[in-house]
């Protein structure tokens, strides 16, 4: 790799860090804000000769990466924060067994909930599993940390967690790239060592002791790392972790006072370094993204070292408990502690919101309206996670908890609400990720449930990654395409039908028949995401002014291509010609014409 400087996304810097660190195999399931790491890796895999895959879910990704690490090679598992919940089972015990080759687990948190269902803090998983965790402050540091963590993981024989946050993952900076570490080819491969790799109780007890003993070694090692440092100043002290470090630096660049600052980049925290800073402090402000992890740690340390000092941060309300930290919030906290007045910040003007919506021509819109029309107002639509969650705006998604939950929640709802039709809605990628066990459970336990799999031939929400139903891999090679229809049949579904949601009349009649039948019925709505279609605009849509009654049925389809002007629909130029509005207009006022005919 030539020395090169480029304006890089934080996630791309992480990818280069993995490559430079000698990555041999990477495993990931997509999820904002982590997906670009794996996409970048896929584009570099051939050049640097490593392996990268989109795995079916995070648990499988981590376990497969763990397998690589047991063979003495360097592996990475990459996911978003909630992905670590799915992978928590292997995580907890991989900490017991440890690894041989470096294993780096990259987890991207989403404080502020830009594109997630919660804002959990992965550092707590690191503490829970008793694994070391690094948290970078900038894309450049992310590259360095990730690169370093392979060797560190091998040194301590433990997996290492890298915690990112959205502003780092989707932050950008000019980054200097380095060289890929040349690894000696001398690994002996997997060595049988049941006492270490087979976690039966007798071995697990030993392993737990080993894990606890490693804690001291790891804590010692953190004191040496440049990812943490202390910048002595006046008696006020600010401790900042991850990228909040730069928020703090920015605030003090404008202040006359010159407080002492500590930058935190590792967990466990460097207690000796902190002790130096805490000893002479009177007021300590702790700044971090997520839960008050550092804050509570510092409180514990202060009890021993300097009980007279006061700690400020998320626990005393100096900084908010929820959401993202910002320069503005740090400035306010610092001024508050310094007893200074601040000009109030402007309040955002209350303006017409612009929320995300399904694309014009999105096949999900058609599927969801078909289901609503056939199953009616009484029906419950437990939903799942993906683009189709946006169906909440058109009243076709009633729940969204976590990936795969729609099917199981639906089975639960149907069990004790037998008079209401329950139609679980799940995307194709989500179905592979976590829907299969839920479907089997429903058929095995004879639930009354309709399952709609919205098969748009991709993982759209996170940027159109392939999945096992598509027939090609992360790096674009052809592979086995899992047949959804046969899979659902094998899961025990009595009826499995495939519909094209654009064929409105036909779909309606099939759905009506299916409605009153018993048992688990699966409908696969198959139609590719409109963004994958190279040429759309199959039809030109026009309005017959005389027939239009102004009923707004077309408008309420919620399509961005239909505007409502002077009590009439106006089709704007974002129309893809899918024809859904034509089929749904009760007065035949909308017509479609084959384009160029």
């Amino acid at each position: 790799m030539v020395m090169k400087r480029a304006y890089l996304l934080g996630n791309h810097a992480v990818a280069y860090g993995l490559v430079e660190g000698g990555l041999q195999a990477a495993f990931a399931y997509p999820g904002t804000p982590s997906s670009e790491i794996t996409e970048k890796l896929a584009s570099l895999a051939e050049q640097y000769r490593f392996y990268v895959e989109w795995s079916i879910n995070e648990k499988v990704a981590l376990e497969t990466a763990y397998g690589v690490a047991l063979s003495g090679r360097r592996a990475a598992a990459i996911m978003k924060h909630v992905g670590l919940n799915v992978a928590a089972d292997p995580l907890m015990t991989a900490a017991y067994t440890g690894v041989v080759g470096g294993l780096v687990i990259v987890v991207a948190d989403d404080p502020g909930i830009h594109s997630s269902q919660n804002e959990q803090d992965s550092r707590q998983y690191a503490l829970f599993a008793k694994l070391p965790c690094f948290e970078p402050a900038s894309p450049q540091e992310a590259l360095e940390m990730v690169k370093f963590s392979f060797a560190f993981s091998e040194k301590i024989s433990q997996p290492v967690i890298i915690r990112l946050v959205t502003r780092l993952a989707h932050g950008k900076a000019a980054v200097t790239l380095g060289q890929r570490i040349e690894l000696s080819q001398s690994t002996t491969g997997f060595k049988k060592e049941p006492s270490r790799w087979v976690m039966v109780p007798a071995n697990a007890r030993q392993a737990h002791r080993r894990l606890n003993e490693t804690q001291k070694v790891v804590a010692e090692a953190m004191e040496e790392l440049e990812f943490n440092y202390f910048q002595p100043g006046e008696e006020g002290l600010v401790i900042a972790s991850g990228l909040t470090w730069f928020y703090v630096r920015e605030v003090f660049a404008k202040q006359e006072n010159n407080w002492s600052l500590v930058k935190i980049g590792t967990y466990p925290l460097p207690e000796k370094l902190l002790a130096k800073a805490l000893k002479r402090a009177k007021k300590v402000l702790v700044v971090e993204e997520g839960e008050p992890v550092v804050e509570q740690w510092v409180e514990r340390l202060l009890c021993k070292i300097n009980p007279g000092a006061t700690v400020h941060g998320k626990e005393d309300g100096c900084l908010p408990r929820e959401g993202e930290v910002s320069v503005e919030l740090v400035e306010k906290a610092v001024n508050q502690l310094a007893g200074k007045q601040m000009n109030p910040k402007p309040v955002p003007p209350s303006l017409l919101p612009r929320s995300p919506v399904l694309c014009p021509g999105c096949p999900h819109r058609a599927s969801l309206h078909l289901l609503k029309k056939v199953f009616g107002r009484k029906a419950i639509f437990p939903g799942d996670i993906g683009c189709y969650t946006l169906g909440v705006n058109i009243g076709a998604i009633d729940t969204c908890l976590c990936m795969g939950a729609g099917l199981s929640t639906g089975a639960g709802l149907a069990r004790l609400e037998p008079d209401r039709p329950v139609v679980a809605i799940i995307g194709d990628s989500t179905f592979f990720h976590a829907g299969i066990p839920a479907l089997i459970n429903a058929t095995y336990n004879q639930a009354e449930l309709v399952v709609a799999i919205l098969d748009n031939r991709t993982t759209a929400m996170t940027g159109h990654q392939p999945h096992p139903g598509i027939g090609y891999t992360a790096t674009g090679e052809k592979t086995t395409e899992i047949d959804l229809e046969k899979l659902c049949q094998a899961c025990g579904a009595k009826q499995v039908i495939i519909l094209d949601p654009y064929q409105v009349a036909e779909s309606l009649s099939v759905l009506k028949q299916l409605k009153d039948q018993p048992g688990v019925r699966v409908i696969i709505f198959r139609r590719a995401c409109i963004l994958l279609e190279k040429t759309h605009h199959r039809f030109e849509i026009t309005l017959d002014e005389d027939k239009c009654q102004g009923c707004q049925v077309c408008f309420y389809l919620g399509c961005p291509a239909i505007e409502w002007v002077n009590n009439r629909p106006v089709i704007n130029n974002s129309c893809t010609g899918c024809g859904l509005c034509v089929a749904f207009c009760p007065h035949q006022a909308l017509n479609k014409y084959e384009k160029n005919s």
Partner: protein, 205 residues
């Protein structure tokens, strides 16, 4: 010119805002300036409000603090108003006046004058025009983003050749020509406005 130029770019998912951020960032790299930034990925890209921050010469975090942006590059007027609170009082707003209506049932799109009044309230200067219309004339609405960078180019801490070079890094070769045209058109437009005989400080509010 102060050392860091803080820019907020805003518009609607799908307008090519990330490309603008890449273009400005690469131009900094070419000019040897430090740079940081941040952008919106994920859910909001499906037609939601989208913002990107870029700090040309910046050495701190990725986000521009409120009331600190030197430049607001708004590809849509409603979004210009929404993100105007980032502008500092002596800053500059470059606003595209072509509206994109959010599909929220019933509520009507605000008056243009209302939206521009919000931008002006910050005390910043403003260049506002229907740049979408010009982009269409050059050949495609898709180049609106680069055209508006051209309009902003005299206010950036990098030379115009850095921008032109950066364009080649961030745009596929097939589209170089039309994008270069757009960039140049934008620059000429701005120079026309600010030339002594030009319509100095013209704004269309």
């Amino acid at each position: 010119m102060k050392k860091t130029v803080d820019i907020v770019i805003c518009g609607v998912g799908g307008q090519g805002i990330i490309l603008v951020s890449d273009l400005l960032g690469e131009a900094c790299v070419k000019a040897g300036l430090p740079v940081t930034g941040s952008e919106t990925h994920g859910m909001a890209q499906r037609g939601g409000s989208v913002e990107a921050h870029i700090r040309m010469g910046g050495v701190f975090g990725p986000k521009v603090p409120l009331q600190q942006a030197d430049l607001l590059l708004a590809l849509e007027p409603l979004e210009a108003a929404r993100f105007s609170l980032y502008l500092r009082a002596e800053g500059l707003a470059i606003v595209n006046l072509a509206p994109i209506k959010p599909i929220t049932q019933k509520t009507t799109y605000p008056q243009q004058s209302e939206l521009l009044a919000l931008v002006k309230k910050t005390g910043a200067n403003m260049i506002a025009d229907d740049f979408t219309c010009y982009a269409r004339k050059i050949g495609s609405e898709k180049i609106l983003n680069v055209l508006m960078v051209g309009v902003a180019s005299p206010f950036l801490p990098v030379g115009f050749d850095c921008l032109r070079e950066a364009l080649k890094t961030v745009v596929r070769e097939k589209f170089w020509k039309i994008n270069e045209q757009a960039l140049q058109w934008g620059r000429d437009y701005c120079q026309r406005i600010f030339s002594p005989q030009g319509e100095q400080g013209r704004d269309h509010a």
